[in-house]
């Protein structure tokens, strides 16, 4: 299987779904670029080049550059989805949700319920999240817990290029609004990715490691850190299960509860701020449902309750890394580890 970057995998999923279904259109700021300008057309292909090449193939009618107008174009995507298109809108950074959240959570997310089931809103919002890019407080947040909180939305957080391609294809084919999170420091990370189109179903976790001692549940980029931690812990005789839920909404409760019960020890890793986040969500779920099997407190490893600092010196301390995960695992394993 060919190695592909996270960026390529997303580009490929978009391309294949656009080839497959004429109703799929993509829109966003500078997703092609160069509009109205004398120089190169498709000059940008998105701020980090993820959508490059799609405009030349599909034309300006299906690759729609927008003015800087998130509430209008995200709402436009919702309205288009409700009337027959399948738009994929790019919210450049999820940090910008604050200027357009209404169209996502009060409009798109609620159409179906408010309208008594007589609406489908097959739209996707692709968006960048996460710290580590030296992009400071307003371009580094996670915020998927906020979207996960909202009924009517689905939330996908791929942990590598393979996952990204399959989950994005599913997001586009899905009939509900999906928020698709891309970690901005992962775009160059490569794994094997099949050329042919495939989908990964929502609500089915991926167990990336199986072990006996501790279950680590992690999201997005953190899955990779969890895997690394598990590998290194294995060397000191601690065997971990690692669970990548893939989607936070729907959440694969069964796999989470099963793997938690099996080991009886759980660490949840979430890059997001600690309050009302996925670490609390999963911890609470486990504590309510497999209490009897638990041998130790459920540890949460998360970003701190602070905005993301600019200085690399601080940002590196900010992001939960492999050592913190290992330490948490050792802690609940108790003395001697």
């Amino acid at each position: 299987m060919p190695m592909k970057s996270f960026r390529q995998a997303i580009n490929e999923a978009l391309r294949q779904e656009m080839e497959r279904d004429q109703r799929v259109v993509i829109m966003g700021e500078d997703i092609a670029g160069g509009l109205g300008a004398p120089g190169e057309d498709d000059a940008w292909g998105g701020p980090l080049g993820v959508t490059k090449g799609l405009m030349p193939q599909f034309g300006r009618n299906r690759v729609l550059d927008t003015p800087i107008t998130e509430s209008a174009f995200i709402g436009c995507a919702a309205g288009a989805a409700a009337t027959g298109l399948r738009p994929v809108a790019e919210l450049m950074f999820v940090d910008f949700m604050g200027v357009c959240f209404d169209q996502i959570f009060n409009q798109a997310a609620k159409f179906r319920y408010m309208f008594g089931g007589r609406a489908v809103t097959p739209m996707v919002v692709r968006t960048m999240y996460g710290a580590g890019f030296r992009a400071a407080s307003q371009h580094s947040q996670c915020l998927y817990p906020v979207f996960t909180h909202i009924p009517g939305l689905k939330v996908a957080i791929p942990s590598n290029a393979y996952e990204a391609k399959g989950l994005l294809a599913q997001s586009i084919r899905d009939d509900d609004p999906v928020i698709f999170f891309e970690h901005k420091v992962m775009y160059d990370d490569e794994v094997d990715v099949p050329d042919e189109p495939y989908t990964i179903p929502f609500g089915e976790a991926n167990v990336t490691r199986e072990g006996d001692d501790v279950t680590i549940i992690a999201f997005g980029r953190m899955v990779n850190f969890a895997n690394q931690a598990a590998d290194s812990l294995a060397a000191s005789g601690i065997s971990c299960t690692v669970v990548d839920p893939r989607t936070t909404s729907p959440l694969d409760k069964e796999t989470i509860l099963e793997t938690a019960s099996e080991t009886g020890r759980v660490v949840v890793i979430d890059e997001a701020h600690p309050r009302c986040n996925m670490a609390t969500d999963v911890s609470a779920l486990i504590c309510e449902n497999c209490f009897g099997d638990l041998k130790a407190p459920i540890k949460q490893v998360t970003g701190p309750h602070a905005p993301v600092p600019f200085s690399p010196a601080l940002e590196d301390l900010y992001v939960p890394g492999v050592p913190k995960i290992e330490a948490a695992v050792r802690e609940i394993m108790g003395k001697g580890h």
């Binding site: 109703r23 259109v25 009618n61 299906r62 729609l64 927008t66 003015p67 107008t69 509430s71 209008a72 174009f73 995200i74 709402g75 436009c76 995507a77 919702a78 309205g79 288009a80 989805a81 409700a82 009337t83 027959g84 298109l85 738009p87 209404d102 169209q103 009060n106 409009q107 159409f111 179906r112 319920y113 408010m114 309208f115 008594g116 089931g117 007589r118 609406a119 489908v120 009924p151 009517g152 689905k154 899905d174 009939d175 509900d176 929502f202 609500g203 729907p250 694969d252």
Partner: protein
Amino acid sequence: MQLSRDQLRAAYQRMCLIRNFEDSLHEEFSAGNIPGFVHLYAGEEASGVGVCMHLDDRDAIASTHRGHGHCIAKGCDPRAMMLEIFGKKDGLCGGKGGSMHIADLSKGMMGANGIVGGGPPLVCGAALTAKTLKTGGVAIAFVGDGASNQGTTFESYNLAKVWNLPAVFVVEDNRYAESTASAWSVGGNQVDRAKGFGMPAQEVDGHDFFAVWEAARQAIERARAGEGPSLLHVKLNRYYGHFEGDAITYKGEGEIEQVKTEKDALMLFKQRVTETKLLDSEELTVIEEEAKAAIADCLASAKAGALPTEADLMTDVYVDYKF
């Protein structure tokens, strides 16, 4: 352009349905029979109907919290609407939406909206669908004077202009947003604002069905012809409070009564069509009575309708989802 007699009858019928629908809701609310926020469109009928007479099912509208009139004008079933407002299972939205969220996408009615300024972006979407799939459709955003100050509205003007979308923005200026006068809240004016975005715009007397109809015809034809968006500033008045329960102390004394006697939309319509002998007053009376009876009948259905049950609480959140 000239309206046929059938069209005139249809227009009057819709206006009468709206008036009766709203008048009965006013009574029912006062009697304590309807819960929640109810915003009535009585007095503004000529606008919704004048615009929607140009539309068919491939065309879409997005409405506001004051949505009943737009719904009826766009062809939604008043009975199912009434059931909805009473929170009944057979309501247009299964009782889940209520007055502020009535919608019928099969009729191109994209929903009343509880969020002021929520509709215009959605209309860009419907217009984009029409343009992309070449359906020949247009999309209309109804925007209150209050909503005309919301950022989402301005952004939609610009997006529609820049993308040359088949969209029309109908600013229904009933002179108040809640208790606040549009004379105060609107910097500049609606027509100049539209022009600032490069859109043609005109002011229209919203009590005059024929004026609305003609202005809407031009705007909609323009949009259908691929010539892009435009705006109508429709000046009119609402007869009831902002919502039911509003004591309306902010209005001037006799302000509503004067409008009712001098330029009631139904009255003006009737005068015009009888004076010009397009329709005779008997057939108009028949339409009025039929509308009255129809709404009374809807009301009876709504009162008799069954409530949704626990089984309905968690349906329709998603098309499919693994809980």
